[in-house]
């Protein structure tokens, strides 16, 4: 009787921690809708998810912000992004309760506070969303990006002096934004030069970087009677997380099980269920850049300032040992719990012990890798700087694939250029061409 009553909480925990469909699978229709340019459908699907899954509100809001930007509502997108930024900052704090629950189930039990690249990019997207409105807070956001990058690396310093995040690829978009904002003052060229220098250091492949640096060091923002249009293009399909089975680790644990079972004189649930960990996968799609024409003049193509997929994959690899260690610790805790119960209930062999082993295997098999991520990020963030005479201009925006062939129909967009000022244009391009409509801060 007592044994039966004691088994109830164990079975409850096992059932409660049973995994379900992963985030990436659930969000696949949203990604598909967005990538084929169906903004309304993507928004409807996210709204549906938001109704059903309040616990994933932050992540869904991130995706909704991208859809909202494509829908031409930057103020709403900024509000959502700001909310997620604050929530991530709060959730970054360790919660012993969640950590403990995570040890009994999987990493999905812990509140999601964003991957490091997401924490930085949420601020970058805030800055861009603000620039295509009045730009009042863009400078503050650009400072926050730099601060966040610094604090992420600083917080990972180990007591032995090593730092797994020290080699993180930084986000060159951050100093780029700050550089162009400071350059527009016509006064703080030293700040602009300092930031463009970082762009050159962090993203040597960014062709125009040296030109920006040279201009900040010895030139001026623009010629008299001219202003500058900065085009931001969110190009391609961003990275996502998928679940992979860590076979070598699972095999090692199986051997350890066998050794321990012999030494302890009782069986442990064998590691039949593989260790599952998330892996970031790049699936960039066909879109490569956006060609911008002003009238008959092919003004240029956007160039990559931040390769989101590359950065995400790199950061995931850097933290992979820690992710694996957590998965192994969780598996060990589960085996320890089963062992403890067997000891407590005096089970060493026989059918009850076997039943508990089977329950233990089921418990372990219920683990899912944490595949939560910001799924509507672009593959690359690209930029183009155009110096144009004061007045109104119609830009023709044409997404191109890797072979330079057009994707979808070109879209005209009018911008107004003011003397010595920056104008900003934001657009999103996928395999289907431009998604939604471009945004600009000019009237």
């Amino acid at each position: 009787m007592l044994r039966t009553s004691l088994l109830v909480p164990v079975l409850f925990i096992m059932v409660a921690s049973t995994g379900c469909m992963t985030h990436v699978v659930r969000l696949q229709p949203v990604r598909a809708a967005f990538q084929r340019g169906d903004v309304a459908e993507a928004d409807r699907l996210i709204a549906l998810e938001l109704e059903q899954r309040g616990s994933e509100e932050d992540l869904l809001l991130l995706d909704r912000a991208m859809v909202t930007l494509a829908d031409g509502r930057p103020a709403d997108a900024e509000r959502m992004l700001r909310r997620v930024r604050d929530s991530f900052d709060h959730l970054e704090e360790e919660s012993p309760a969640e950590n403990a629950w995570g040890m009994l189930s999987d990493d999905g039990a812990r509140a999601y506070h964003g991957e490091d690249y997401e924490k930085v990019l949420v601020r970058a997207m805030l800055a861009i969303s603000n620039l295509v409105q009045d730009g009042d807070d863009a400078e503050a956001y650009s400072l926050q990006i730099a601060d966040k990058q610094r604090s992420i690396v600083a917080a990972a310093a180990q007591p032995d002096g090593t730092n797994p995040k020290a080699a993180y690829q930084q986000v060159p978009l951050a100093p780029y934004l700050r550089g162009l904002i400071r350059e527009e003052t016509h006064r703080d060229y030293d700040d602009a030069a300092r930031n463009f220098q970082l762009v050159v250091d962090w993203q040597p492949d960014f062709g125009p970087g040296r030109g920006h640096l040279a201009r900040a060091v010895g030139g001026s923002h623009s010629r008299r009677g001219h202003g500058v249009v900065h085009v931001f293009a969110l190009v391609g399909h961003g990275p996502f997380k998928t679940e992979v089975e860590e076979i070598p680790t699972s095999t090692s644990l199986l051997i350890a099980d066998q050794l321990l079972s012999t030494q302890l004189g009782t069986t442990l649930p064998p590691t039949i269920a593989p260790i599952k960990v998330p892996r970031i996968v790049a699936a960039p799609g066909a879109a490569a850049s956006v060609q911008v024409a002003v009238g008959d003049w092919a003004a240029g193509q956007t160039e990559t300032i931040t390769d989101v997929s590359q950065m995400a994959v790199g950061q995931c690899e850097a933290m992979r040992p820690y992710c694996l260690a957590r998965a192994v610790a969780r598996r060990t805790a589960k085996k320890g719990t089963i062992y403890g119960f067997k000891q407590g209930l005096g089970m060493r062999e026989g059918l009850p012990s076997l039943a508990l082993d089977v329950a233990g295997i089921a418990w372990e098999a219920s683990e899912n890798a944490d595949t939560r991520c910001w799924s509507l990020l672009p593959d690359r963030i690209q930029v183009l700087r155009l110096e144009l005479p004061v007045g109104s201009h119609t830009l023709l925006l044409r997404p191109l694939d890797r072979q330079g062939q057009p994707l979808g129909q070109p879209v005209p967009q009018t911008v107004t250029v003011a003397d010595g000022r920056n104008s900003y244009l934001l657009l999103q391009a996928t395999d289907a061409g431009l998604v939604g409509r471009p945004l600009t801060n000019s009237p």
Binding site: I13, H90, E93, S95, E98, Y189, S220, G336, G346
Partner: protein, 243 residues
């Protein structure tokens, strides 16, 4: 029968044994569940309260005294000059000397650190102090920015005589005549001693007379030690430690 002589009874459940071994793995997460995520708090710092000191780079503890010191010295010197210029002539009515107009061009950061949002604060702080003094009158920053934008001149180009005349002429056209250009520059020098380092910060104010190109200069200096541990800081500040 002693305890040691008792046969092993694997199938029986002892309550203590259960609590000791069986319940421990469950008790751990339950206890841990009582912990929750900490919140961030803020407070208004009272006057006279010890301000925070930047552990990795300069903060208000560095810039506030630098600004106070440099501006005070510069103003003091020019108050003296203003007093000397006024002379008494018998029978003539004494006129107050005209207030000289300063165009504060900007703060240039040439230090090893990114000063972030301090740059604007340093500018505003210096500008406010100049405005409060009776020695100079500063030109509103929005006019300065508009002047730089309209002429497409960089702050460092204004020292070329031709550019200076162009800029001064433009400002005059806008109803903002200027007598002086003021530049503020932050520089730093770093001395390393193993894992610790000392950084000397200097704020230099350069005052250039537009008509003649003559200039005055005033600096303030502050040194800061950065230590990798409390012990290292204690060793550096303890007078009994051998140098």
């Amino acid at each position: 029968m002693s305890l040691a002589d008792r046969p092993h009874e694997p199938a029986r459940l002892g309550r203590r044994a259960f609590l000791r071994s069986g319940f421990v793995p469950l008790a751990f997460p339950v206890l841990a569940a009582s912990g929750c995520r900490s919140m961030q708090f803020a407070r208004v710092m009272m006057q006279g309260e010890d301000a925070m000191i930047g552990s990795h780079q300069a903060g208000q503890e560095t810039f506030t005294p630098l600004v106070n010191d440099a501006v005070a010295k510069l103003l003091a010197r020019h108050v003296d000059a203003a007093v000397q210029q006024v002379s008494y002539t018998e029978g003539a009515e004494s006129l107050p000397s005209p207030t000289r107009r300063i165009c504060f061009v900007g703060v240039e950061n040439k230090s090893a650190e990114d000063i972030g949002d301090f740059k604007e604060q340093i500018y505003q702080s210096i500008d406010s102090r100049i405005l409060e003094s009776t020695v100079f009158q500063s030109v509103n920053r929005r006019f300065v920015d508009a002047g730089l934008r309209d002429t497409r001149l960089r702050p460092d180009q204004l020292l070329v005589p031709e550019h200076m005349r162009t800029f001064a002429g433009h400002m005059e056209q806008q109803g903002q005549p200027i007598d002086y250009l003021l530049y503020a520059t932050i520089t730093s020098g770093t001395t390393r001693e193993n894992r610790d380092y000392q950084r000397d910060y200097v704020l230099t104010l350069e005052l250039v007379e537009v008509g003649t190109g003559t200039y005055d200069k005033q600096s303030a200096e502050l040194s800061k030690g950065y230590h990798h541990s409390r012990l290292s800081r204690w060793r550096a500040t303890n007078p009994l430690m051998p140098k």
